[in-house]
Symmetry: none
Subunit: 273 residues, 2 copies
């Protein structure tokens, strides 16, 4: 039973939440999950708002508060309002804060990468040609099977594409070069190839593209240069320029493009055969 002292600090609150959340029925679990993920909202929301967010009735949320040891929502809210430390400043201020941390500290780095990520997302809308994007989506949704290739730096993007395609029931194969097998003959007439490759362009990817091009398989290329080694195969090209931070590029933009492309294909595709 939950008839016990209410947590007196945010730390105690978290512990209580953890302790309690092990054994909770469905609705109360939803409350716990939502509250855990939106602690910051508690101070400024009403029961009704929180309940709606969690997808439960207000009364369920009340019960949840009581299980945590509070007399009700108000008492829980009081805890959060009291320890509400001068409202969060806006994005740029927060960023500045992070950057003020010691040079090279993980927090400062995170700030830099977030910033780089945002910048590269912004430029994405400029570098990607909408017509090409539409063409790419059409081409891929018309394919029997979409073959995805991307190695090295691009491998993570390729795996993510494979994941979304599978979720959206788009027939797709991920080419991994596992064991140096390149499975080029798995690519059949009527299929399409989706290739990700960035500046130290890996040769297995190029080989696969070259082979496919020779057989007139339609190709979509996500790459960083219009005149890269892929250009001569005349693929439908989606350009991404990733903002460097130090030696590291943030793949956030590429990932974003990949997601949009995958969802376009997934929704355009008629119900699976």
């Amino acid at each position: 039973m939950g008839d016990n002292a209410p947590p007196a600090s945010l730390k105690a609150f978290e512990e209580k939440l953890l302790e309690v959340s092990e054994s909770l029925p469905k609705r109360l679990r939803q409350c716990a999950d939502y509250v855990a993920a939106n602690k910051d909202r508690i101070a400024v929301s009403t029961v009704a708002e929180m309940a709606e967010g969690a997808g439960v009735q207000p009364s369920a949320l009340m019960r949840f508060c009581q299980i945590l040891g509070f007399s009700g929502f108000s008492e829980m809210q009081r805890l959060f309002r009291e320890s509400y430390v001068g409202g969060w400043p806006d994005y740029s201020t927060r960023l500045k804060h992070l950057r003020e941390k010691p040079e090279g500290s993980p927090a400062a780095l995170l700030g830099e990468f977030v910033d780089a990520g945002r910048a590269s997302l912004e430029s994405l809308l400029n570098t990607v040609d909408p017509a090409n994007l539409t063409e790419a989506a059409n081409l891929l949704s018309a394919a029997n099977v979409v073959h995805i290739v991307g190695l090295g730096r691009s491998f993570s993007i390729a795996t993510y594409m494979a994941y979304i395609f599978e979720k959206m029931e788009v027939p797709a194969v991920l080419h991994t070069s596992l064991g140096k097998l390149d499975n080029r003959h798995a690519i059949r007439k009527g299929d399409a190839l989706l290739a990700f490759t960035f500046s130290p362009y890996s040769s297995p990817t190029l080989d696969l593209v070259e082979n496919a091009a020779a057989r007139n398989i339609p190709i979509v290329a996500v790459t960083d240069s219009a005149i890269g080694p892929l250009a001569k195969f005349r693929p439908v090209t989606l350009l991404v320029s990733e903002v460097d931070f130090g030696a590291f590029r943030s793949p956030a933009a590429t990932l974003c493009l990949a997601t949009a492309l995958a969802v376009s294909v997934g929704t355009a595709k008629p119900g699976s055969a």
Copy 2:
């Protein structure tokens, strides 16, 4: 007279406050001063509390709100509450819409994802605890070998981590569950485990974490809930809140965090042995 449009942003609010405060009688001036000095409290206080703080009657504070152009205290408070929580709920509904009837060109879709990506990067600065990030980086750089695990949705992140670690000469192993082999015995004393897992938490990942926890292997968890199934193993937790819409979640924020973490570890690590 103060019958004018209410400020629509914090910036507009400040300007209005300044403009108005020149010519104000005693009590209203107290209101202005107190409000200016305690803007952060507005979101979480009642009229009565604010009035007491300013040393005036509630009715005086009401009048003050109206002079600023608001219909009353509630409307002013709404401005502060909304700018505090940011625009996340909007995205939820927008993306849900998108999923229900996917109208719109791929380019429009890309626009949506870029927006969502930017917002989720921004919120990353709120959810990740800098102290935990530092601790995670220290813990991983102290390890002999870093073991990376992440399946399903998280697999692409895991592969990216493995890529950067390798580039930075940090000894790391990617656990893929290829062939259902979980290689749990590859994790030795002195190693550390880095686990990525999000809401349909995959059981192989949990198993691996459980096993490692039982052997006192230090664990860093990148996840979406402080009370998720990983919580009971008390890992160093890095929270990323990606609102869940099946395939529509953009992992840009997680990727960004992963990159920052990897680079932190890579630079902290003393020259390779």
